[in-house]
Structures are given as C-alpha cells and as structure tokens.
C-alpha cells in the first residue's frame, strides 16, 4: 500500500510570531517540520510495514529554499517527497492549498492519505477534508488509532463524549491526532539516506492551477489586525508555604467558597 502524508514546514511555534505587511504569517525565519505531522509520518511508516509493501511519500506546499523539515520526514523513513513551491502561492487559503495538494497527490495515486488534524501555525483545520472532497475519497478526522485490513480502514475517532469506531473503504483520507503513535527519531543512517532520496519540486504551472491560488484565489481578505482587549495581570506571590492559603482567600473573595 502506498501512503501519502501531507506535511507542512512552519515557523517554530515557540518563537515569537508576526505578520507581514500583507497580513501573511512571517515565514522568513527558520522553518521546522510541524510536530503535529510527525505522527502521520510515523503512522504511515507503520501501516506500510504492516501491509508488507509499498512506500510513503510526503507531499508539502511551501518554500523549497530550506527543506530541513521535509528531509526530517525522509530521514524517519519516507521514500520520497513532492514539494509544490512557487512565489504565486503566497497568500493561498485552505481551499487553495487543498487544490494544490490534490493535484500533487493525484500523481502518486495512493491507497491512503494521512494528515494532521490541523497545522500548528494556521490552525484552519479544514484542508485535509477539503482535499478528500477534491479527491472524491471518504475521510475520517480526529483518528486516535488507525488499522487497515485489506481494502478496509478502521479508525477510532474522537468525539465530544468519547470515541466512535468508524470504517471506510480505501482509498481514503485520515487526520490523526497527536499521540496516535510515538514518532521515531531519525537514525544516523536515516539522516544520511535522506540526503539522496528523491525530492520533486513542482510549480503552480506544473499543476495547472494558476488562477486558483494566492490572494485572488483565496477570495477572502484580512481587513485589519487590532490589539485584543488586554487582561490585566493581578497579584503575583512567591510561594512561602502560604500559596494554598492565598488561593483559598481568593476563592472566598470571588464567592466560589
């Protein structure tokens, strides 16, 4: 079974974030593989192992100037990468991204497509299911476990109250939650091997999507960005053994106790 994993290189979420003059997230610093994507990569590697054949392809949209994050996925064990990189993609929205990924994924014809539930920079959380609709595949989101038996996919899917057991025929799109599997660390051998694995870089023109991406394709615009009403910090004490007493007094003052 061939599996595609959608991954994204993002600015380090722990570093300060900013917007550029066009209200796009500033991506000029170092980019890393979104940690949320490492679970999909690991899951894909395990499923291909269990199927006893096939390979994992990572597909990503974004700058190809620094591919350290994608190389990380290859070092974990993915066989190859397809990157769609083009200046024209700046300002592309979630649906435009799904169109780009769908066009790239059609070239691989996978049995299963995995993605994170949402990226850790934009948090839109709709791209994988938009992708499923464009690829005419069923989708199961928020998977906490994934099994493939023959041509049938079985997923434990998070719900408000617990989880549902959900099945679908392959090919399908699945989004995985963090913690679904424990992502492996790349071995030294893996890191060395990743350097020579194939990375195909495509442009928007290669995919025939010129008028559907960028700010025009997004058909939405940010009007302005305003400072949110600030919450004032209150009192801060170093605990001298009286921390709990202070909390109890506070709870009394707001009539919770």
């Amino acid at each position: 079974m061939n599996v595609v994993v959608c991954v994204k290189q993002i600015p380090d979420p722990a570093a300060p974030q900013s917007l550029d003059a066009s209200y796009n997230l500033n991506r000029s610093g170092k980019l890393i593989l979104d940690e949320a994507d490492t679970y999909g990569v690991e899951m894909a590697l395990q499923l291909v192992d269990q199927a006893g054949g096939g390979e994992v392809t990572v597909v990503s949209m974004g700058s190809a100037a620094d591919l350290a994050g994608v190389r990380n996925a290859l070092a974990m064990g993915a066989a190859k990468a397809i990157i769609v990189s083009d200046e024209a993609l700046r300002g592309t929205d979630a649906l435009g991204t799904a169109k780009v990924l769908a066009a790239a994924i059609r070239r691989v014809n996978p049995g299963l497509v995995l993605a994170a539930t949402e990226s850790s920079d934009g948090y839109t959380g709709t791209t994988p299911v938009q992708l499923a609709e464009l690829l005419a595949m069923p989708s199961i989101t928020f998977a906490k476990s994934v099994t493939v038996t023959g041509d049938t996919l079985s997923v434990a899917r998070q719900t408000e109250a617990g989880y549902d057991e959900v099945t679908a025929p392959l090919p399908a799109v699945v989004t995985v939650t963090a913690g679904v599997v424990e992502p492996r660390y790349a071995s030294f051998k893996g890191i060395m091997a990743a350097k020579s694995k194939p990375v195909e870089i495509l442009s928007v023109a290669d995919l025939g999507l010129a008028d559907q991406v960028g700010p025009a394709g997004a058909r939405q615009q940010i009007i302005d960005v305003v400072t949110a009403e600030a919450r004032q910090a209150g009192e801060k004490f170093v605990d001298d053994g009286d921390g709990a007493t202070k909390i109890v007094a506070f709870l009394e003052s707001i009539k919770v106790l």
């Binding site: 649906l95 709709t126 009192e235």
Partner: protein, 320 residues
Amino acid sequence: MTLNTLWVVVESANGSLTTTSLELLSHARTLASNVAAVTWGTGDHAAQAGEYGATTLYSVGDLGGALPGAPVAAAIAALVGAGAPDAILVPTSYDGRDIAARLSARLDRPVLTNVTGLVDEGGLVTEHPIFGGTQVARARFSAEGPGIVVVRAKSFAAEPSGGAAATVVAAPVGELGAIGAARITATHVEEREGPKLEEAPVVVSGGRGLGEASRYALVVEAARLLNGAAGASRAIVDAGWVPYSHQVGQTGKTVKPTVYIACGISGATQHMVGMKGSKNIVAINKDPDAPIFQIADLGIVGDVNTVLPSLIEALKSRAS
C-alpha cells in the same frame, strides 16, 4: 441590516440542540432578517430551532450510520443550488469542521475558521483571535458567496427569541458514492464524574509542570472538592497522560468558568485561547516569567506539587 439570509448548521446531542448551535442561531438573528437552520438525525428540533430564531429548519434526516461530514455537506450544497444565503455558519466541533470543509470544496467557496466575533459592516466581518488572543484579525469574504464561517463555542450568548416552531423542510442527500462511505459502527462514551468541562463554574487544569502522569490525580481531586471539572493542556494530552476530552485550548474546548485554576501550565498560545475568557484566573507555576501570569488575577510562583496538595488539604478541612 445588509444581510438578508443566514443559514446555521445546528447539531444535537441527547435530544437537544447543542449550546454552540443555540449561540449561533441567537447571534444570526441579530445579523439577518431570515435565519434558517440545517440539521440531521432523527430528533424533532423544530420548536427549539424556532425558539432561538430560525424560521425554517432544513432536515437532512437519518444518516443511516454515515459519518455526517459528506452527506450533510452534500445536502446543503443542493439547497444552495436552489437559492443561496449570504453565509453559512457552522459550530466548531468534530462534525462541524468536517461539514464546513466538505461544503467549501463542493461549492468551491472559501471557509473562515476559529471565528469568535461576527459583525455587519456593510457585509459580514469575521473576527479571529491570533497569537494567543493578544491580537484580533478581522476578515471578510471578497467574492461571490455564500462564504462558510466556522465559529468557536461561547463566542455569543444563547438567548431565546420566543419564535414559533420552525417550518421543517426536507433536505435530501442524493447519491454520494465513495465520499459518503465512512460509517460509524460503534459509539463509546467515556464516563466522567462531576460537571461538564464546558459548563463547570470551576475548572482546575493541569500541565507539564505536574512532572508525571500520576500527579494528574491532584488536579482531579482539587476539581472534585471545588465541584468543578478537570482540564488539561495540550502538552499532557499529547503525552498520553489524560484523554483528549479534557483538553482546553485552540484544539480542545473553550471554557469560561467563574474561576480557572491553571496548575503547572506555562500558558502557550494554544492553551490561552481556550481559557482567556474565564472570569477569574489563578495560576500556579514554578517559572516566574511564565506567560500565564500575564493574565492571572492571582499568581503563585511555586511548585505545583507542593501548592496543590496544601490546597487539597485546606479544602478538605473546610468541608469537614
């Protein structure tokens, strides 16, 4: 009012429309003269939908065990073909996000998510908290509608309008083929004691500062003594200490309790978005520079594994 018609996707649970659905209906009727609701399942929600402002209730009906995303989106897309609203509002939930995403691709219309405010400024303007809620991006659709708007829980108040029962109109799904093939074969409910996380007046949440999974029991105990619910940061949910249903934050639940007690939570952007609206915030953290202290009404700089056991003792001695 420049908006004529809004549609609201409404979900039900335990025989009633969900609170977020009612919040969306309530706000929709302040923005548009015509509000219609769209729902699925076997329950009869015409009276409640009407009470909160919908004049029409499009009913997709029983899905026969199908995962709702694809069939509900297909039914809405067919309705749009017969007459489009200005925008379609969808609650942020597991199924809501699936429906919005499917609908967006099916209609080839953009979707805006993580919305916490909706105003009419000669057209719909959406508000999105960014960077941990320190800033708000305001956006609008710039082409032919209907745009799809996915709104977070607790963004608006749910207020009945006293309207009559909505007129129910069937919304058939049609043939879907492979895309509608995901089926629910079993449902598991994780039992939890005490009030629901989203509704509890007191929420005690734990984070990485607890050090290890077993100490989450302290958070549960403190929550129980305060008649509250136990929450968690994404870090410890990802680490497998606690089930996802406890997660508070961007990816988890939005809570606005009377008091939120953050134990060993540093205050990552992802977490703050889900609890910043709490009436009062208490934080216990070892790091005096932890971002959580910037929004805490009471901050205790100390080890949560010392402070929390003392707090539990103090609460127990009051109770006895």
